[in-house]
């Protein structure tokens, strides 16, 4: 049996501003991502990588085109429905971590579980932090954690609800090389455990090389789409357009 694609986008366009101030950011993106696939979005600054991720995660609505993510028709949903669609299905790791500064590590990780109505959010948050090696930092606040630790909490938070789809926007951008490498290892290891689809936005070709598909954007369009990458960190070696949803929550 063939699983439906995790992401299916056709002719996605995004224009910001109006009239003479309008700027066309995405200019017709066609993209299908199979479940369990690891995909790197490469491209220079201003090529539209972050905007594409925003549209794919429902943080921003496309100006036109069709988009199905994790089985939901994103083009037909309003902002609140998109927020509900994200709960438990999409995990996001951001470059600047964006932990809630007023909450401890455990509270930060428990929050998406609570938003998704999970009954054992507290215990699962602790287990998730344990899994990223921060079992001893549960009650620490973001300001009391190093950059690498903060990003590990962010990864734990993104993966805690076991989402079938994980996005990471420059996850090592704010970290030094050694810490960044550790974070990437952790991200791929946790993904392998959960079997989630992983989309990474990066400038780093070395990081991109760890994914089994590399899509390069330039000026709001897909410039190249190389599949069949060695994908040495992927759990799946199936075809680029379809793959098993093994381990999905």
């Amino acid at each position: 049996m063939t699983s439906p694609p995790a992401i299916e986008a056709r002719d996605l366009r995004l224009t910001l501003g109006e009239g003479s101030a309008a700027v066309s950011i995405l200019k017709g993106i066609d993209l299908a991502v199979a479940a369990g696939e690891t995909l790197a979005l490469l491209g220079p600054s201003g090529s539209g990588k972050s905007s594409l991720m925003a549209v794919l995660t429902g943080l921003e609505r496309a100006s036109s085109g069709s988009l199905h993510v994790a089985g939901a028709d994103f083009a037909a949903l309003n902002e609140d429905a998109l927020a509900r669609a994200r709960r438990g299905r999409i995990g996001i790791v951001l470059q600047a971590f964006h932990l809630l500064p007023t909450m401890s590590a455990q509270e930060n990780v428990a929050t998406p579980l609570e938003l998704a109505g999970e009954p054992d959010a507290w215990d699962r948050a602790a287990a998730e932090l344990e899994a990223v090696g921060l079992g001893h930092r549960l009650s620490h606040y973001p300001a009391q954690l190093s950059g690498g630790e903060q990003q590990r909490v962010a990864i734990a938070r993104a993966l805690a609800p076991r989402p079938p789809l994980v996005f990471a926007d420059e996850p090592t951008g704010n970290l030094d090389a050694a810490t960044g490498a550790g974070i990437v290892d952790l991200l791929f290891a946790r993904r392998a455990e959960t079997g989630a689809t992983l989309v990474i936005i990066t400038h780093d070709e070395g990081l991109a090389a760890r994914c089994n598909r590399v899509v390069t954007l330039a000026d709001g369009r897909i410039a190249s789409d190389i599949t069949g990458n060695s994908g040495r960190d992927t759990a799946s070696t199936s075809s680029p357009v379809s793959g098993p949803l093994s381990g999905a929550a």
């Binding site: 910001l16 501003g17 972050s50 905007s51 991720m53 925003a54 995660t57 943080l59 921003e60 902002e79 609140d80 927020a83 509900r84 994200r86 709960r87 438990g88 996001i92 951001l94 600047a96 964006h98 932990l99 809630l100 500064p101 007023t102 909450m103 509270e107 929050t111 998406p112 609570e114 938003l115 998704a116 109505g117 938070r157 926007d169």
Partner: protein, 839 residues
Amino acid sequence: MNSLSWSAAWRIARRDLNRRFRGLRLLLVCLFLGVGALAAIGTLAAAIRGELSSQGQVLLGGDVEVEVWQRPLTQEETALLERYGTLSQGLRMQAMASTDDAATPVELKAVDANWPLYGTLVLQGGHRMGAPPPGHAWLAQGAAERLGVSPGDTFRIGTAILRVGGIIAEEPDRLSEGFQLGQTVIVPYDLPRQAGLIAPGSMYETKTRLRFAGSPDLEQVVEMIEQRFPDAGLDISTRERASPGAERFVGRMGEFLTLVGLAALVIAGIGIGGGVASYLEARRAGIATLKILGASSGDIVRIYALQVGAAALAGSLAGLLAGVLVTPLLAQALGELLPVQTGFVINLPALLRAALFGLLVALVFAAPPLLRARDYPAMALMRARVAPLAQGWRGALLPVGLGLAGIAAVAVLGSPQPWLNALFLAGAAALLALLAGLGALIRRLAARAPRPANPILRAALANLHRPGAATSSLVTALGFGLSAFVLLAAVETSLDANIQRSVPERAPDYFVLDIPRDRLGEFEAAVEQRAPGAGIEAVPTLRGAILAYGPAGEQIVVSQLEELPEGAWALRGERGLTYAARLPQGNSLVRGEWWPADYSGSPLVSVDEELAEAIGLEIGDILTVGLLGVERTARVASIRRIDWESMGFNYVLVFSPNTFADAPHNLAATVALPPGGTASGLLGDLARAFPSSSVIEVGPLLVQARAILEQVALAILAAAGVAVLAGIAVLLGAIAAARAQRTYDSVILRVLGASSGQLLLLQLAEFVMLAAVLAVVALGLGSVLAWLIVTQLFEFDWLPRWPRVLAVLGGGIALVLVFALGASLPVLRARPAQSLRTL
């Protein structure tokens, strides 16, 4: 998947909420001030009302009191009252007390052995007593001081010599006696007669108090007395309204202060709105993160509404607590003016009203920023450029509308003067709108003003209009508070100037009552000897009640009226009557003609224009008055206009001399000393030569009236002070909210070479510009409102003392500047290197 449940939202909200409410302290302080002021006002008013109603019997000195002028109750009247319980007879009149060295006018209160029927008289030293024994008197402290006597000494009243039995510490029925014209001296019931003070025509009032033996229906008893003796001129009071004057005063002051407190709360509301907006602004990233994690906009509103609600509740509760705690202090400050329950008073309706006002104002002002926060885009985390936020005020219409309706309902319902309150609220809303509009105009003007060449001034001007500048809310909040200061200063100095101006010119120095009419010449000589050149004006004084009025044959009987026509207060009970050959000074004829000086025809009367209008009296109508039990009829010959401000003897009814020629009566006189003149020894002389006469000194009465005025002004000032404090809280909040921007500006300017002095000048220039605007706003607005109050409400002349008004305003603005600069100090202390790393 559904929205987040309230309990889950509370878990997240509580986690994110700082234990010390950091970020929400402005909201907390504003609600604390506003709710605290309202709680204190409500609790104090309730404590006074509670005391007035629970102590009704003590304050009145009985369950029922029957007053009548110039006579004791008849046997028939007494017999009727005695059917219901025990009676205590009393008598009250003006008199002169003297020793060999001193004399003073006193308020003589004669009481029988049953007095007091309720409560106890307490003398200094703690002795609890009843009526004084024969030959003794209890003296008020002031009377003893003026006579220079202490317990054991003797003094004279009329022809009697009395021993000071003690000095009064607490007089149980003092409040129901009303405004006093002299210091109290309590004597045995028979003393006035023994001392020769009671003669036909003497001005005195008897008070018969009744203590019920059983528990008859109070209203039925009153109705029975009124029906049995409709024309007897009896004035009946009951324990339920023992002191209607004090009750009315407390009720009106309470309502008025509540409205001032509400105005303070509205100013606080501006702070609440600003505080919530900057709190949510600071949490923009957090809100965006929650959205990324799957929170819907409804969840965001729930989470932050719970946080704001928790802070509002905490602020309101702290305000309620402070209100309850401060009440005993306020009660003490009220002194002996009004009775207040001692200790802490917890009046649930008053506290509930204050809390409701606070929470509703919080709802009105916090709803718009809260509902705007749900539109904060999650994209803000990923890209600096996001679509500008819609204003989104439409979404807030429902909660704001509900909140406003709630405030109006709480203010109007349960108020004794709903229309006045509704009018005040509408006026306050219009004022706020006007000030908000003015603030917006100032912003616009600042934006369009030519750019000053000086970079410091340029930056200061820019601070007034740049996006996010709090100019509008500051002009509204501080403008409102400072206007209140100007208003109070202008009203107070105007009233004071009116009193000062009119008193020396027109008011006499003494009123002398009960001068025997055959000894007027002797009296004039006595005055002339001690006060040469003094002006004396003497008039006959009688007391009587209007029994009937109207065209001959169709007269309306007053006792049959179910309700008195509006403005016809002269129909109630007995009034002073007089006769005169010539039109009294300060009066002018409106219609009809004055009788010839030697008129001897059928009795005629001249009526005050206002009374004639109120009861529809025309020239030629017949008026019947009851005088010492005899009915007398006179025809209306003229209608007069009275200048009440002249403070002389002004009578609503002036009869032709032949009307009362046969009635026993005395004279009353005013004595006006020549400018700069004194009358030392006059009171002593009069006390000796005219023992049955009494003197009222005008000076102490004006001092007393001014003291009451000042206490009222103080109460209003205190409430207005809360408004200014709330305004300062708004100012501090606005400065705190703009601190990041100010720090950034300061650091950049410092990097570019600005000195500390220049940076201080920048802050100062901005606040001075704002202060100049506020001064103009406050001066204009406060003056207009004060002018309305002085000229329209009090009908006085507009005589503010501008130096004082400007000094008060200057003081207020200096306070604002000190706070503003104090709050700006952290901006000046910012270190460029450190700040640039974090900005």
